[in-house]
Amino acid sequence: MSIKKQAQFWRGFRAVMPLWLASAPFAVVYVIAAQRAGLSALEIQVMSLSVYSAAGQIALVQLLGVNAPIVTIYMTMILMHLHFLMYGLSLRKGLSFSRWERFTLPFFLTDVAYGVTISHGQKASVIFLIGAEMSIFFIWNISTGLANLLGDKFVNPLWDHLDFIAPLTFFALLVTLVKSRFDTLIALVAIGLTAFFVTTGFGSMSILLVCGLAVPIGIAGSRFFGDSRL
């Protein structure tokens, strides 16, 4: 890899590091839930290496713990991850992927890797995305391994607060994207819709529902407000 590409890789890797602290409490929650569901240490680690989705893994082990039907398990996994379709479409707007990259990089794609890459705009590249993905993959699996190994000793009262880093990071990323009053208005519409869907029990489906409603509202609104960028 050329020096320039190495620099891009490490920029992406470092860009995600503020979220490393947040992975520990989620890893503990996942490992404890998995142990209660009767999974072995190997199964727990393999899931982090393969499924590689904090929310997805927690939901999966909870469903395994109650012997949920396989159809229920798989439908839940699909519904929780359908929004990744939008991430791929969004990333293709600014980045050019080779055939090989289009089939390999998605395996490691997460909300955070997507968010950090998009927020870097023109400064991001495919190599930057790879760095961001590897950073999260590395820390998630290390955290799982440590939680697996140390069990209760890995729990720390500080973990109670660390899960706030994730929403804090997404908020910071949102701030970098909001460049006009219209963008602010769309964000507020999305926030309002999310609050409604989450409080009425739509859970992880909320992201799809909000996108399904807020995008047409935004497109219609852009004609009304005359946002020239759209």
Binding site: A15, M17, P18, L39, E43, V46, V51, Y52, S53, G56, L60, Y74, M77, H81, F84, L85, M86, G88, L89, S90, L91, R92, K93, R102, F103, P106, F107, L109, D111, G115, S119, H161, F164, I165, A166, L168, T169, F170, F171, L173, L174, V175, T176, L177, D183, I186, A187, A190, I191, T194, V198, T199, I207, V210, A214, V215, G218, I219, S222, L230
Partner: protein, 97 residues
């Protein structure tokens, strides 16, 4: 069914969700897609940051003050890492007051 097979099935399904956006054919020059792709990140980040706050509204004042400080630092400096670190410190201090 053996747990490893269930994990394998879940892995495949989640991978298909992740890869779908990379392989679906789209008209790159479509204006409609440009509009959608401009709005998507704003909407997605709004959902991702507000969902946990709605699900767990404890210490909400501390969280909102922390978000305000984070926003100010991002606007003034553009430094994401610094903003997140300072914002979290503000939240941690306020939550322990």
């Amino acid at each position: 069914m053996n747990t490893f097979w269930i994990i394998a099935g879940a892995t495949l399904l989640i991978y298909l969700c992740r890869v779908s956006g990379f392989i679906l054919p789209i008209a790159k020059q479509s204006r409609k897609w440009e509009q959608v792709l401009h709005l998507l990140p704003i909407i997605i980040f709004s959902v991702l940051f507000i969902s946990p706050l709605v699900r767990q509204p404890d210490l909400i004042l501390a969280k909102f003050l922390s978000l305000f400080v984070t926003a100010v630092i991002v606007w003034r400096t553009g430094q994401l890492g610094v903003a997140i670190f300072v914002g979290f410190v503000v939240f941690y201090v306020l939550s322990n007051v």
